[in-house]
C-alpha cells in the first residue's frame, strides 16, 4: 500500500471536511487514490475515505453479506472492528447492494440520542458518477442558496433518510464516493428534495 499515511490521508480528510461543510460540493481525491496499489474490489475513494476515519476506536458494518473479503481488508488496514448494523459507527454500502437491504439498514442504524447526537452512524456509500447536474435540490447550512447533486439513489432512499433526520439533532451523515475518485457529503442538517425521478 503506497498511500502516505500522513500526507495523503490528511489531504483526503481536508476534502471530506470541505464537502461536509458545503453539502453538494464534489471534491476530487484522484491525486491520492492514484497512490493506491491494492485493489479492494470497491471504489478507491470509498476505501480511502474509510482509511481516513476508521481505526481501533470505532466500529463498522458492511451491508453486503457477500463481501467477507472487504470486511477483512478494512479490519486489517484500519484495526476497526466489524459489528452488527445497529451498533456500527460506520456503515459501508456498495453499488451492488440491494435497495431493500439499504432501506432496512437505514431504519435500524444508530442516529444518536438527544443528549449525545454525535453517537450516530456515518454512512460511506459507493455511488455511480457524482455530478452537480439535476438530481437533488439541496438547502441548509453550508449552502449559500441551493445546490444540486445527482447520484442516482431512488426516492425511497431519500424518504428513508428523511425519516431518520427529522428528529434533528439526531440523524445520520453520509459520504458518497464514486468510481472516478470523487466524494460528496450530506450532513443531517441538509434538506434533500429529489427533482427528477430516475
Amino acid at each position: 500500500m503506497a498511500i502516505d499515511q500522513i500526507h495523503d490521508l490528511q489531504q483526503v480528510y481536508r476534502k471530506l471536511l470541505h464537502s461536509m461543510s458545503r453539502p453538494g460540493t464534489i471534491s476530487s481525491i484522484e491525486q491520492e487514490t492514484e497512490n493506491m496499489d491494492v485493489d479492494f474490489g470497491c471504489a478507491d475513494a470509498l476505501m480511502l475515505s474509510a482509511m481516513v476515519l476508521l481505526d481501533a476506536e470505532v466500529t463498522f458494518h458492511v451491508l453486503s453479506k457477500k463481501r467477507r473479503d472487504l470486511i477483512e481488508k478494512i479490519s486489517e488496514y484500519t484495526s476497526a472492528r466489524c459489528v452488527p448494523l445497529q451498533e456500527a459507527d460506520f456503515i459501508i454500502v456498495l453499488q451492488e447492494d440491494g435497495e431493500s437491504e439499504i432501506l432496512e439498514a437505514m431504519a435500524q442504524c444508530k442516529i444518536g440520542n438527544l443528549i449525545d447526537p454525535q453517537q450516530s452512524s456515518t454512512w460511506i456509500i459507493e455511488t455511480p458518477a457524482l455530478s452537480n447536474k439535476g438530481g437533488l435540490l439541496l438547502t441548509g447550512p453550508g449552502i449559500e442558496t441551493e445546490a444540486h447533486l445527482a447520484m442516482r439513489q431512488s426516492s425511497e432512499f431519500w424518504q428513508a433518510r428523511d425519516s431518520r433526520i427529522k428528529e434533528y439533532p439526531m440523524g445520520i451523515d453520509m459520504i458518497f464516493a464514486d468510481g472516478s475518485s470523487q466524494v460528496a457529503c450530506l450532513p443531517r442538517t441538509v434538506t434533500a428534495i429529489l427533482m427528477e425521478v430516475e
Binding site: 500522513i6 480528510y13 481536508r14 458545503r22 476506536e57 443528549i115 434533528y168 439533532p169 451523515d173 450532513p187
Partner: protein, 288 residues
C-alpha cells in the same frame, strides 16, 4: 537520542479522533462534540483546543496565520506558530488574505474570510450556560431539551440590574436555530461575522475537551430581546491613530505624553495593510 518530531506533533491515531469529532461538529452546528483532547507541549488554557484542530487539519502546502487578541506578534501567537512550524515546516504569514488556515484567540480578523479559508478559534469555556449551571450533567440535558431559559434569564437579570445587557465578550449566539453556543471570547463586535460566513469556523476547547463548528452560510444570531436588541461595542467618533480606520475594533491605549486615551486598530495586520495600501496610493498619485 533525539527523536524527530512526528509531522504535526500527534500520532495519526490522535489526529483521526479529532477529525471524526470535527466532521460530527460540522454536521451538528453549534453542538459541543466531546473529544479525547491530548496534552500538548503548550499549557492547557493557552490554546490547546485550537492547536489540536490546527494540527489535525494542517498539510504541507497550507499557509498558517496565528493571532492573539488581534495581534500576530503577541507572545502566545508567536509561541503557537513556532510549535506548528517546528513540527510541520509550513509557511507562516501575517497577512489574512495569504493564509488558508487562521488560528485565533479572541478575535475574528477584520478582512472578510473566504471559502478557501478555515478559521480556528481558541475557546476557554465552551459551555454558554456554565455561568448559570456549574454541572456538565445538567447543561448537557438543557441543550438536549432546547432549554435555554438559563441564558435568557442571565440577560434579563442584566437588563433589570443595569438597564441593558452587560455581556462583554463571548455573548451567546443561537446557531442554525437550534443550539445556543459560546462564540469564544470574541468581542460582541465580531459576533455578526459568524452569521452566513463564507469560511468554515471551527472552535476547540482543549481543557474542556469539546470541538464545535459553524459551517459556512449558517444562521448565527446573538441572543437578545426584541425591545433590547443586540448591541456591539461602540467606537463612535474614534479612529485608529495610525491608519485612520474607523469601523474596526479599536484598542484603547494611554498616550505616554498627554495621559489621554488614544485608539489603534486591534487587528495589527489589517492596520499594516491599510498603511501600506495608502502609501502605495500616495506614491502612485504623486506620479499621476
Amino acid at each position: 537520542m533525539r527523536a524527530k518530531p512526528h509531522f504535526a506533533f500527534f500520532d495519526e491515531g490522535s489526529k483521526k479522533e479529532i477529525r471524526r469529532a470535527t466532521l460530527k461538529a460540522v454536521a451538528i452546528p453549534g453542538y459541543q462534540v466531546p473529544f479525547a483532547s491530548r496534552e500538548m507541549p503548550i499549557a492547557r488554557g493557552w490554546g490547546t483546543g485550537g492547536l489540536q484542530l490546527t494540527l489535525s487539519l494542517i498539510g504541507k502546502t497550507d499557509v498558517l496565520k496565528v493571532i492573539d487578541q488581534g495581534a500576530d506578534e503577541s507572545v502566545n501567537a508567536v509561541s503557537i506558530k513556532k510549535l506548528v512550524q517546528e513540527t510541520t515546516g509550513v509557511q507562516i504569514t501575517d497577512q489574512t488574505e495569504e493564509a488558508d488556515l487562521i488560528q485565533s484567540r479572541h478575535r475574528i480578523p477584520e478582512t472578510p474570510m473566504t471559502k478557501d479559508q478555515i478559521l480556528v478559534l481558541q475557546v476557554p469555556m465552551p459551555e454558554p450556560l456554565r455561568p448559570v449551571e456549574a454541572r456538565e450533567y445538567m447543561t448537557k440535558r438543557m441543550h438536549s431539551e432546547d432549554d435555554y431559559s438559563g441564558a435568557w434569564l442571565m440577560l434579563f437579570e442584566q437588563i433589570v440590574k443595569y438597564g441593558k445587557t452587560a455581556t462583554a465578550a463571548d455573548h451567546p449566539v443561537y446557531v442554525n436555530g437550534r443550539y445556543v453556543m459560546a462564540p469564544s471570547p470574541i468581542p460582541r463586535f465580531d459576533n455578526p461575522r459568524m452569521h452566513q460566513s463564507e469560511a468554515l469556523i471551527l472552535l476547540g476547547a482543549g481543557r474542556e475537551k469539546k470541538i464545535y463548528a459553524v459551517p459556512p452560510f449558517t444562521n448565527v444570531e446573538s441572543l437578545a430581546f426584541e425591545d433590547y436588541p443586540f448591541a456591539v461595542e461602540s467606537f463612535k467618533g474614534k479612529e485608529c491613530q495610525l491608519c485612520g480606520s474607523a469601523h474596526v475594533f479599536l484598542d484603547e491605549l494611554i498616550d505616554q505624553k498627554t495621559g489621554e486615551p488614544v485608539y489603534q486598530c486591534n487587528d495589527t495586520s489589517y492596520c499594516m495593510e491599510q498603511l501600506n495600501s495608502r502609501e502605495k496610493a500616495e506614491v502612485e498619485s504623486s506620479y499621476a
